[in-house]
Subunit: 354 residues, 2 copies
């Protein structure tokens, strides 16, 4: 049945054509599924292809068509469930539309991100979805447009860049939760983020390079100061980008003379560490410390107390980004769209009253 092929001899359209007794073009037509061919010839070619164990070369196809059927995705950390869900959403939509996903992990390192984008463009991905590490750097992103590929920004918009974006209403969510905490009597509220500043100390929102986080901080600060519990800058902690760093930082916070009565964690990885430290220190939650986090990670529902969260539709974020990109790939020419998905406050039990 099966003709064994010498391993190193790639079977090409030409081989199949010869074996089927037709021209290369005809064979290519049936193998590539385009143009029109008579049924008889089609069957003959297919048979020949099968018996020769023909395997199409997508690279060659891409060369001539100019489309690779691939989209590049650059995220900060695929290990973070946030991105895990987003990438899953992207993958599903992409697959359904016949696209492959090339994934690059920047580790939130700008240089890695830049290099990744460069190779993805060189590999001729049809388009890119990027969650940029810094909102201050845009050259490498503009490069994508210059190369004629559409770009969709995921979770982190950049004002200086006029492209499609899919984000959540970070600023508003931050405002809401801050307001909530204030209304429960909290006056010492800390905000902890993985983003870092050159000095590892926060002084102004301008220093926060990740757009989504920056907006949250701006919302946090605004409401806090409106409520008269400011200045808020003293309560912002940056650089919680490893469990160890988060731990250290939380220890400092909780061990200080005037510890916060509430902590807002910028992502679930941070919240997890805060939770651990609080427990270790025997700090009662929500009695002595309230905790609230962005990202409704699965585990937040099973702790004691369960953690109150800002639920972000992460999977949908990924889906939407992929859909937008594919629309562009299909020729959509409308001006850049900025999709903002709503978040939802899920009150569970980690917020107390002061």
């Amino acid at each position: 049945m099966k003709e064994a092929q010498p391993k190193n001899t790639a079977v090409t359209v030409a081989d199949v054509a010869r074996s089927a007794g037709v021209s290369k073009a005809t064979a290519a037509r049936v193998l590539g599924g385009y143009g029109t061919v008579s049924d008889r010839v089609r069957d003959a070619v297919k048979a020949a292809a099968k018996s020769l164990d023909y395997r199409p070369n997508e690279l060659a196809r891409s060369m001539t068509t100019g489309r690779s059927g691939t989209i590049g995705v650059v995220v900060g950390d695929i290990e973070n469930p946030f991105f895990g869900s987003a990438v899953r959403g992207i993958s599903e939509i992409a697959r359904a539309a016949g696209f492959n996903v090339v994934l690059a992990n920047s580790g939130e390192d700008f240089e890695v991100e830049r290099a990744a984008i460069k190779t993805l463009v060189a590999k001729r991905v049809d388009g890119l979805i990027v969650s940029p590490a810094r909102q201050s750097e845009v050259d490498h992103l503009k490069e994508i447009g210059r190369a004629g590929r559409p770009l969709v920004l995921l979770d982190r918009a950049i004002g200086a860049l006029d492209v499609d974006t899919v984000t959540t209403d970070d600023r508003q969510a931050a405002e809401n939760v801050t307001r909530l905490l204030v209304s429960r009597g909290h006056r010492r509220i800390a905000y902890v983020t993985a983003c870092d500043t050159p000095t590892h100390v926060y002084s102004h929102a301008d220093e926060i390079s990740t757009a989504s986080v920056r907006e949250r901080i701006e919302g946090f600060v605004r409401i806090g100061e409106e409520a008269g519990i400011g200045p808020m800058a003293q309560w912002i902690r940056v650089g919680a980008n490893t469990p160890e760093a988060t731990r250290r930082l939380t220890m400092d916070l909780l061990g200080s003379a005037a510890p916060p009565s509430a902590i807002i964690a910028s992502d679930s990885l941070i919240a997890l560490e805060v939770f651990k430290v609080a427990r270790e220190l025997g700090v009662d939650m929500p009695g002595a410390l309230s905790l609230l986090t962005f990202h409704d990670a699965a585990w937040t529902a099973v702790t004691s107390p369960p953690v109150t969260v800002v639920r972000q539709p992460v999977y949908e974020l990924g889906e939407a980004a992929a859909r937008m990109l594919i629309e562009r790939l299909n020729g959509e020419q409308c001006p850049p769209r900025h999709l903002v998905l709503p978040t939802q406050l899920v009150e569970r039990g980690s917020i107390g009253t002061v």
Copy 2:
């Protein structure tokens, strides 16, 4: 400084060559970084490339060299932190070695897996890392070898396939934890897995298509029967592949006339649901129910009680798989290697004594 290029005119080696006043071959040599070129010419070409905003076409390069600098990765579910970590490990090693990662999510669906592998091979990835959904199906995997690409199996080995594998000592781990539970007096121990059988009921290990899980079940059964608490088949629950299914199944288990005193969860997603259900039902843990899970997911340390787990070196699993693959890509010819990474029992507090 920057010459704006007409968007749709891709600059090629030929253009750069012309502009620099050298032959195409010479320009290609400096642009591609191979062969030997005089310093003067090199500089001239580089300058021309920059001013023309030349962007290499990796596709064309791959066409002629036969190497794409890309490795394909097929996993069951990137949303599962288990695979998230593994993929991160793979990505880091790949990046360091100059490879890109094309990720495909099979959703544990065999047909999707088959299709993904087919396109990855057609796209000429240099090699593949796969965590196969079924150990009974090998044709599509053998295809990879026939196409002349190396394959490394991740987390799930397949006996019928003689390729490199990286796994953990699942059987032994299962034996150990079962023994532990027995020693603590448990005689009604359930094992819950996402794997499914055609009938959605377990009767024999042969029906379990995922290699790693099958081995665990075999270990579980063996120790249980040796300890005289068998037959064990009655305690095995399959099909916990969605939160809802897991929930239902756990409800059944805990609501039965003779509920288990201990549950072994095959992955952390399952453990999470079991935990939720137990709490909801007011089942005391570890008093009335003990819980143990495979995969040391981050959250398992913060619940009350914290969950005892079989820690698998997941990130390292990914790293090792990538390393092995890259070795093959570099011409390593040794017979297939089977790397088995050790797991570790981390006792926390979810196992009680009966």
